[in-house]
Subunit: 425 residues, 2 copies
Amino acid sequence: MNNLTFDTGRAYAAYRDTQDELSAFRSEFVIDDPDLIYLDGNSLGRLPAATIGYLQTTIREEWGSGLVRSWNQGWSEAPRRVGKMVSSLIGAAPDEVVVCDSTTTNLYKLSLAALSLQQGRRELLSDVLNFPTDLYILQGVQHLLGGQHILRLLPSQDGIVIPTQHVLDAITQNTALVSLSYPTFKSGYLYDIETITRHAHQVGALVLWDFCHGVGVVPIELERWGVDFAVGCTYKYLNGGPGSPAFLYVRRDLQNRVIQPLTGWWGHQAPFAFDLDYKPAQGINRFLVGSPPILSLVAIEPSLEMTQRAGITRIRQKSIQLTSYLVDLFDAYLAPLGFTLGSPRQPQQRGSHVSVSHPESYRITRALIEEMKVVPDFRQPDTLRLGLAPLYTTFCETWDAVQRIRQVVVEERYKKYSEERLPVT
Amino acid sequence: MNNLTFDTGRAYAAYRDTQDELSAFRSEFVIDDPDLIYLDGNSLGRLPAATIGYLQTTIREEWGSGLVRSWNQGWSEAPRRVGKMVSSLIGAAPDEVVVCDSTTTNLYKLSLAALSLQQGRRELLSDVLNFPTDLYILQGVQHLLGGQHILRLLPSQDGIVIPTQHVLDAITQNTALVSLSYPTFKSGYLYDIETITRHAHQVGALVLWDFCHGVGVVPIELERWGVDFAVGCTYKYLNGGPGSPAFLYVRRDLQNRVIQPLTGWWGHQAPFAFDLDYKPAQGINRFLVGSPPILSLVAIEPSLEMTQRAGITRIRQKSIQLTSYLVDLFDAYLAPLGFTLGSPRQPQQRGSHVSVSHPESYRITRALIEEMKVVPDFRQPDTLRLGLAPLYTTFCETWDAVQRIRQVVVEERYKKYSEERLPVT
């Protein structure tokens, strides 16, 4: 067997697993059913075993015994402490990141914060590949500010990519804010973020990047790229648990210049002075709002520690190996069945999930979940997303998943499922 | 011993405990140190024992084994399911309440929602007794809307109460929104909420009530009172855990008429259609924003079940008994030491905490926490808040706490503590 060359058999997958530097991390997750192939870590990451005991301590000791005193024993610091851990994964300084609120709320805060610096400019630029909530927030902001802004959405010819040049061409002297995702949620497409950010700045526009589908799995260098504002989920590749709060980043030199619209006591310069007048905090604290949901917040910490230990360079390396392998398997097994590839072929343009399309994707997804022990996710109208999480996804799982998808289609197992579409998060 | 008449001795407290219909509920909480007198349930409620196992199931089974599938097995419904449980405690219908985001964020959403209905009116009315974050949000909204609104804060002569008539007199044809707390956070003062709400409506103003310090401990009848908008914490008397998300209430007939500014995908009429355009959901879903922090959200449920079982009528009855008893002990033991009462004397004007003031309150609080096993909280500049949580506070604890406060002052134990003020949540 030539170990170095792709081969369509399972033995090759097994060999690749033996060569995987990160393979030991899989054992740090709760995996009750080793035969269940979980390809939705891009929606909700698996539970790290360490998180169970960590939360038990938070609940039983800190809440149960420590009671309110625990706010002064670490809880009050948690948005900054967890933010500091995230900062090391995204090339930011510790004082540029906090973890608080949902991604959507953070998008709102930072969109308005950005516009508070852009009085004369009237265009908001995004694209049709962006996650809907990002667009909804821009639409809400547009309405709130009296409809004086235009929201321009760049089209995508194939629904997979938009050439970086199209973004550059669209940024004008009237562009206030460029708000895009890295990578895009459906196709997993990675723009040339550095070029876009640099060009935006040259023309006087600000940039807000959404790293929900990238943080913890693609290298992010916010300071080096000069990014102004950023947000991202912690419950996908960061395994923070369902609905764990999101991070937000504001470049240091912008923090004291912007107006953050959600003027809550946690963003006050002296929350416990109980002043009657709002005075915004200096620095990253300005972007906090109200009491953070501590259980959901601290749940992110054990996984962040694990991600730091694995290292983004190694994670990215395995991610590219896994997605490239999946694309090869796609060509061998799925393309002949009528599937089309919904993600870029070039690894450097791709995050850690691979989307495939098929007219029956919805029913195929249902069959996979309900009888084939494969959990991908479905995205309207015909996308099956296959998320490969380098900390726990194996090459053998990837091979097995493709075989099971194939089986569902070849044996027409999907046909017994209704076409009525239930949400699959 | 005359059991019916107040008596300054401990035996009377012990007798009152034997007569307490709710005494059995104390055993449903985690109480590691029975000698620790916890008088800060008005800031962070104790941990219900049932919550430990409930969260363990959520973490280990729902997240660990169920993975992303759990969103369709109860998590997605959680904001409405928990909201429905809260609705039964506040006299609202199940479809008028959701639990999501922080109190502050909910205040923001509902303030702007209210103002979306009040185009011509320019005054926001609140008072100096309101919790600062409520005022900060009004100030932020005022700024956001271009400074065209006036924020009027009613003064308080004694820092404890503001006569209801003063509020009525201040509501004019120009009042857009009346935003007040029930009860107030420091003095625990209860306005005549029904009269204020009715009068506001007669004059065309809308009302937004903050029930952070009331929900779970004072009777709230939102539908009967005709309240327009309301918010409240779940981590105080509802024992939902540190930073558990807040509830928000919108009267049914207003839900589809208002604009909710945080236009996220959870408030979209079809979140999983992934439309590019925001279309607000009908009904209470419109007030959701992003993914809820599930661990912190479901943690509220076991305690809500307990609160429902105890019943607000019995809880309020015991609350009045406890606070009245504490006021009697205050007169007997604390007034002679230079303390003044910082809460109303009339039980019907008072929530479930009693504030006392003393020039050395800060250092007294530190001594109580650090060497006397009493945990109250301190509020600037000189308030010691003593929270009595009917589900677990006993009469004997109340008596003992007063003796320990007395001891700290008489023995001048507070003098060894620095005056440097650290935050005490």
